[in-house]
């Protein structure tokens, strides 16, 4: 059985479908990239996978020992809680909450792990800074560090490199690849097709016609070729 599998799934809000006839599987250790145009329903799909919104039709099956409280999620950047008083450390540590059950306080190891994840994201120096006073890219790194704290089985990333500078973007991709090699399953939404081709094992292309399959098949498929082509042309303009 797969980690996640969906067949004839249709997703949307308040009973109104955004996208239908979705099918895909995620196996343990996969690196799935979800691509598609703005507004095609990628974020909606992510939220459905995570159980934040119910599917309109069909079902998502979870298996192979995937535990709900071992999933790290990086939401797409929104104006999340503008005035919220929170230090960077408090935000990152909250990544552990899902696993803690009823335990009220953080353990020493968890604090260490949080420090390590902040170092990985180069925000160790911001530990005691106020979250709401950070730049967009810094906030993104904080949320990534939080997602890392939560992710033992799977990491779900909605446009993780948005707002990051080129250097950190590269490091970010390397880090995600490393985690994937360590056995953590990755689901990533991305508009960066080059990176998607380079790192992912599978592609889910959301469009009028859906493509799901291994990355090398995507490259040779007509849909993949066309999409890569249009992106190239847009770049050339």
């Amino acid at each position: 059985m797969s980690y996640i599998s969906a067949k004839d799934l249709s997703i949307g809000y308040d009973g109104k479908p955004v996208l239908g006839e979705i099918h895909f599987q995620v196996e343990k250790g996969n690196y799935l990239c979800v691509v598609g145009e703005n507004g095609s329903g990628k974020t909606t799909l992510m939220k459905t996978i995570l159980g934040l919104i119910p599917p309109i039709n069909g079902r998502i099956l979870y298996g192979d020992g995937l535990k709900k409280n071992q999933i790290g999620y990086l939401p797409q950047q929104t104006e999340l809680q503008k005035d919220f008083p929170a230090s960077v450390e408090e935000v990152v540590l909250s990544g552990f909450q899902g696993k803690m059950g009823l335990r009220p306080f953080y353990k020493k190891e968890e604090k260490k792990q949080a420090d390590l994840n902040m170092e990985r994201m180069h925000i160790g120096g911001l530990k005691h800074k106020s979250y709401r006073e950070l730049s967009g890219g810094q906030k993104q790194r904080v949320l990534l560090a939080r997602a890392l704290c939560a992710a033992n089985d799977m990491l779900v990333l909605d446009e993780p490199v948005t707002g990051l500078d080129p250097k950190v973007t590269l490091e970010m991709y390397d880090l995600i690849a490393d985690l994937n090699h360590l056995g953590i399953t990755i689901i990533m939404i991305s508009h960066d097709l080059d990176a998607a081709m380079k790192y992912s094992s599978h592609i889910l292309h959301i469009d009028k016609k859906l493509f799901f399959g291994p990355t090398r098949d995507y490259q040779s498929s007509k849909q993949g070729n066309d999409f890569l082509q249009t992106l190239k042309e847009e770049e050339d303009d």
Binding site: L50, L52, P85, E90, V91, P104, A147, V156
Partner: protein, 279 residues
């Protein structure tokens, strides 16, 4: 002035009143941040009015302690309101407004139809704005207040990090396996308890102020959740102590005096925040 105070503080019931006031203030400030940031402020207001309705019924029934009826009714209302708030986004607001106005009207009508004392408008005033003096609190209510306050405090300490988690980013909390709905319900119940407890001190119209002002003040000064939480507790307790003492000395109604002190503290914090932080 100090002598007058010393004289008053010799009496046991004055000291008890102070203790109760401080405990209530402490509890009411703790969930202020959550209430403000989760946009639950309007629920707080609505619940206070529900508590008013329940209090009217309790007084007509001539119950010895109104709290016994107020508490279950308000808790139930909190749970129900949160349900509708979650499922039907916009309708939640309307539901709260409806229930809160309906309880007010119903409560006032009831107290007029079946008056239990010759001075109905006086009774209504007390339920809306709190006892004229904290010294008139019944002993039974005080003990219940203390018990409930301790309960709220323990809850808050035990679930402090969870409250942060579900307030800061509900989607993330849900996605990573935190039982968000359970905690939201718990928070709603605790808010209801806080409102019932505060009702004795400040009355149903001023409860929101007691809950929200200390949090807003603290948010001017501190930037971490912990800092804001501790600071708003301190501010709230200060406001209660000054307010109670001032109301004893000046003979003003205790609830509105405390809230006035809170308002003054809020503007002080704003000024300090301007000078100190943002420059």
């Amino acid at each position: 002035m100090i002598e007058t105070l010393q004289e008053y503080l010799q009496y046991d019931f004055v000291r008890y009143a102070l203790v109760v006031g401080v405990l209530i203030a402490l509890c009411s400030s703790l969930l202020g941040v959550t209430l403000v940031l989760k946009r639950y402020s309007f629920i707080g207001d609505g619940l206070a009015h529900v508590a008013f309705g329940a209090m009217a019924i309790a007084s007509v029934l001539q119950m010895t302690s109104f709290t016994y009826l107020m508490l279950p009714v308000t808790v139930l209302a909190a749970v129900l309101l949160l349900r509708t708030g979650n499922h039907a986004k916009i309708k939640g607001d309307a539901a709260v407004a409806m229930i809160s106005v309906a309880s007010l009207a119903f409560g006032y009508m009831l107290m007029n139809i079946l008056p239990t004392s010759p001075n109905v408008s006086g009774d209504v005033c007390v339920t809306l704005f709190g006892s004229t003096s904290i010294l008139t609190l019944k002993k039974e209510d005080m003990i219940l207040c203390i018990l409930l306050s301790v309960l709220v405090l323990l809850f808050f300490i035990f679930f402090y990090h969870k409250i942060f988690d579900v307030t800061f980013d509900e989607d993330f909390a849900k996605a990573s396996g935190t039982k968000v709905n359970t905690y939201n319900t718990l928070i709603a119940i605790i808010i209801a308890v806080i409102i019932v407890v505060s009702m004795n001190l400040v009355g149903s119209l001023l409860i929101s102020a007691l809950i929200i002002f200390p949090a807003l003040s603290a948010m001017r000064l501190f930037k971490s959740f912990k800092g804001v939480t501790i600071c708003s507790a301190v501010i709230s307790v200060l406001g209660a102590v000054f307010g109670i003492l001032a109301s004893i000395l000046m003979g003003t109604p205790v609830g509105s005096t405390i809230v006035s002190v809170d308002v003054v503290l809020f503007f002080l914090c704003r000024i300090i925040g301007r000078i100190g932080g943002k420059g």
